[in-house]
């Protein structure tokens, strides 16, 4: 067994660290757009009985029971077939957005179901319309109870965004792979990369709990 040599990795640490930004960007974009889609899906599910509700449910069922990797592959190959040329970066963001929407819609749906039924009636008797009821009452209330689940899913998305490297995106894992293939120190660079992901995740945990505490203090 030959020894580990971290020197080649440390000389390229800055390049590797730049990948952290790309990772956060991918996960962040997919999370934000996924959440917007999910709000639509969840409201659809909550407000309707028939076809729309079933469609929204089926969307989540289909995308949560198949691999995200395959979904990104589908976007990666299908969009060009339809004549839309997008960068690998965008393909990954789109694929992850679609995937995130499915999971987030489930989280939102469950959160909205936990909103006390009487809130809907109170909103009615206060004269709020549907849009106002969702924007002012249901979503903000549900948002607080769902915050841990949403934050947790964002962490899962940070981990999942490592798949971007497979499509040639220069995220943290992608850059690690680059460094590995030029220096032949794959194990070393992957160990450092693993450490960076862990640090990033701990930092995010800290940020989320801080965010939560300030939110609670603000109101």
């Amino acid at each position: 067994m030959t020894g580990l040599d971290f020197h080649p990795v440390f000389t390229r640490l800055l390049f590797l660290l730049g990948g952290v930004g790309v990772t956060v960007l991918i996960a962040g974009l997919a999370f934000v757009f996924g959440l917007l889609l999910a709000v639509g899906l969840a409201v659809l599910r909550f407000e309707n009985q028939g076809t729309w509700r079933r469609l929204s449910r089926s969307y989540s069922t289909a995308l949560t029971n198949t691999p995200q990797l395959s979904q990104i592959f589908a976007v990666f190959y299908c969009l060009p077939l339809m004549g839309v040329m997008v960068s690998p970066f965008l393909s990954v963001v789109i694929g992850m957005t679609l995937n995130a929407a499915a999971y987030l819609a489930d989280i939102l749906g469950a959160g909205m179901a936990r909103v006390p039924a009487v809130y809907h009636e109170v909103a009615l008797t206060l004269g709020l319309n549907r849009r106002q009821t969702y924007l002012r009452v249901i979503l903000p209330y549900a948002g607080r109870t769902m915050f841990p689940a949403l934050a947790n899913h964002f962490q899962i998305m940070i981990l999942g965004s490592a798949m971007a490297s497979i499509f040639g995106v220069e995220d943290l894992t992608g850059r690690a792979y680059d460094i590995g293939s030029t220096t032949f120190r794959v194990l070393e660079v992957m160990l450092v990369t693993g450490g960076l992901y862990a640090l990033l995740s701990f930092a995010l945990t800290g940020v989320f709990s801080l965010f939560r505490r300030t939110m609670e203090r603000m109101v």
């Binding site: 009487v118 009636e121 109170v122 206060l126 004269g127 209330y141 109101v219």
Partner: protein, 257 residues
């Protein structure tokens, strides 16, 4: 013509007839109490008055204006007049007390936030909650929650105030406070309909008592002291832990308070 005139309300849940031709009337500034055994339809009846409960049939006169309660548009008309305080209060947990009060005035009635907050603070002050404006509902006691719920309803400036079991979660001391408050509001001309199980409150507070049984109005008592006069109502009240002839003086403020 009475100020509120509800007639012939029928509600069905599947095959069950939850309300059968129920009705009552009330003058402006009167307090009406629905009493009756559990499952007799009190809550259901109250909810029809603000369009939360679809009715099979029924009409409601408010201030001489007749509303067909079965018509889809009726809910909007009813809600222009009325406000309701739910049994579980339904205070929005993610908003401060003040925001609970100003939400509807600002986003529905489009009043300015400053104006609404000014009114809300004055109202909280009147209900003895001046220092609770910026608190979250979770940090209030049961009695405080209820007064906030009443304040939120009052912000709608209703002419008809509905309350479902306003005293069920309160200790006797607070029960009397609520009674005093409702009396005050009624004196200002607000018509109040409440569902209540607290028979001493009912007998000391009500201008009218509506006894429901199995979805039907069994008896209606009118005027102060009516509880003792009608045998049906007196019998019900005596078997439900109340004294039909209770002294309305029970509402007088406690000397040592």
């Amino acid at each position: 013509m009475p100020y509120i005139d509800v007639r012939d309300v029928c509600v069905r849940h599947g095959k069950n007839e939850t309300l059968r031709q129920a009705g009552f009337d009330a003058e402006r500034g009167e307090i009406v109490s629905f009493i009756g055994p559990s499952g007799s339809g009190k809550t259901t009846f109250l909810r029809t008055l603000i369009g939360l409960q679809p009715v099979w049939r029924g009409q409601m006169g408010v201030d001489g204006r007749i509303v067909d309660m079965a018509a889809p548009a009726s809910a909007r008309i009813l809600r222009e007049q009325a406000a309701i305080v739910f049994q579980q209060y339904g205070l929005f947990g993610h908003m401060s007390v003040l925001r609970n009060l100003t939400l509807a005035p600002t986003v529905v009635a489009k009043r300015s936030r400053r104006d609404a907050e000014h009114e809300a603070r004055a109202l909280l002050e009147r209900l003895g909650l001046a220092n609770k404006a910026d608190v979250l509902p979770a940090d209030l006691s049961g009695g405080q929650k209820q007064r906030v719920a009443i304040a939120r309803a009052l912000m709608l400036r209703p002419t008809l105030l509905l309350l479902d079991e306003p005293t069920s979660a309160l200790d006797p001391h607070k029960v009397r406070d609520v009674g005093v408050l409702l009396r005050d509001l009624a004196q200002d001309g607000m018509t109040i309909v409440q569902v209540s199980h607290a028979m001493n409150v009912v007998s000391s507070l009500s201008d009218r008592i509506v006894l429901l049984e199995d979805g039907q109005v069994r008896a209606v008592g009118k005027g102060r002291g009516c509880a003792a006069q009608l045998p049906d109502i007196a019998a019900f009240m005596n078997t439900h832990g109340g004294d039909a002839a209770a002294d309305p003086a029970g509402l007088r403020p406690d000397p040592d308070h």
